[in-house]
Symmetry: C7
């Protein structure tokens, strides 16, 4: 179970499936995994980029989180930005 490939294994099984990749800096990319490499660089097709625009320092107690979505086609994610990858 502790073999080196748990990340690769999950990513390999997810090829062609929809995933949500959460990135540092309150960004996410949603789409289909086309490929990946050892550094966890990932190519997502039919990608949607999501930027959370949290009302951080305002005087709002409700603090609604707003998201800004944009279609970006094919996108390469540099692996060191990845926090989590969830299979949808």
């Amino acid at each position: 179970m502790s073999e080196e490939g748990i990340a690769s294994q999950l990513l390999q099984e997810s090829i062609g499936k929809n995933v949500l990749v959460k990135l540092k800096g309150r960004r996410s990319v949603r789409g289909k995994i086309k490929g990946f490499d050892k550094q966890m660089n990932i190519v997502i097709t039919e990608a949607t980029e999501i930027i959370e625009q949290q009302g951080n320092n305002n005087n709002n107690s409700e603090k609604k989180e707003q998201e800004q979505e944009s279609q970006v086609g094919d996108v390469l994610i540099r692996g060191d930005n990845v926090i989590t990858i969830a299979v949808l």
Copy 2:
């Protein structure tokens, strides 16, 4: 006691158990460990993602911490985001 595997050892013993993985950026993932690798990449099943939404800069002296939880199924955590892993 200082052998290289203390992290692997605790993670190996925790396979199938519930853990709480605290991540940088005020995120956590709670669920069952399915696997892990040397970089501390971890696959969690039946995962719940928790985002702390701390009222940082507001004029509230009470400063209630709010958490936002969401079910995410299977999730791969990139190891370099891990702060602590607690066995529940």
Copy 3:
């Protein structure tokens, strides 16, 4: 699919094409890829640099995001700043 070259492959196919490179620190560079290397250092020609100027801590509920663009000719991007590369 998990061969080492997914990043290189996408970049190689994108030579001469327009891309949008998102960088850490709310910067982006848009232009044509002229070349790249293993560290994901990228040379962009006919480049436009975009700096997002988000009204972060103000009392504005609308929170319009403003962008500041400037033409920069040829620009070398150091790879470790890259978040995503989208083919336009």
Copy 4:
């Protein structure tokens, strides 16, 4: 004195002793060291997690620091979060 093992030496001598491990991001873990490895990954038993909740940007000149403590049993700390380890 400059042999490679000063960190290992102090940690080895501290096995079974109470320590306070200060982490990046204003967190600490207090408890008994059960084990550690070369990356300074540490397993703490009977652990208490402490989160400092500093009133950073408020209009309080007193600026009382509040701490939030929680019992977490066994916890694995990823080494690259460690700032200091004090023997109690």
Copy 5:
């Protein structure tokens, strides 16, 4: 095109030319490249250091960006601070 030297190639061609090196932390250095090495450490002669002083959290909707410039003669830039290098 994906040979290892794209960064070196652009820097080598830029020896003696004016460049603008953007650094992390809202700093830049403008001047002539005298030399560089594999870590992208760069020596700039006739250098001007530029610090952006952005009015971040104020109640100004105009948000004028102010720059503070200072002549610094010869300056060595440590490579890991570099974001982009533009040939002027």
Copy 6:
């Protein structure tokens, strides 16, 4: 002069002397160096930990810096937090 050991040399000469180790995150540790290793991990005895509590975002033009000191006995500092080490 550019031999690899300038850091080790200064630290070796400082064994048993009082130093002030400035750390990232506005922390310092003052005390006697007992030992160190290649990663600049340092063990300080008779240590005092100092946390700067700067009034960052308040409406105070005076901006008095306050320090919070605590005696911590023996403390291990993880090297990658070190900014500067001054011999007292």
Copy 7:
């Protein structure tokens, strides 16, 4: 020109000369270079530490930058904090 030693070369030529070393976190050290090593660890003698205290989030449009200087004798700077080194 692209030989590996541009950083070492400038530092070697600067031994005994006054330099201003700018560090991450709005700190600088001014003084004479006594020595350095491959990681860009630097020992400065007759050192003055400078901390910029920028009035970041206040309602001041003037935004005067204040500096706090202190004499620190001999100081070792850990290389990964260095942004720039200017020969004075």
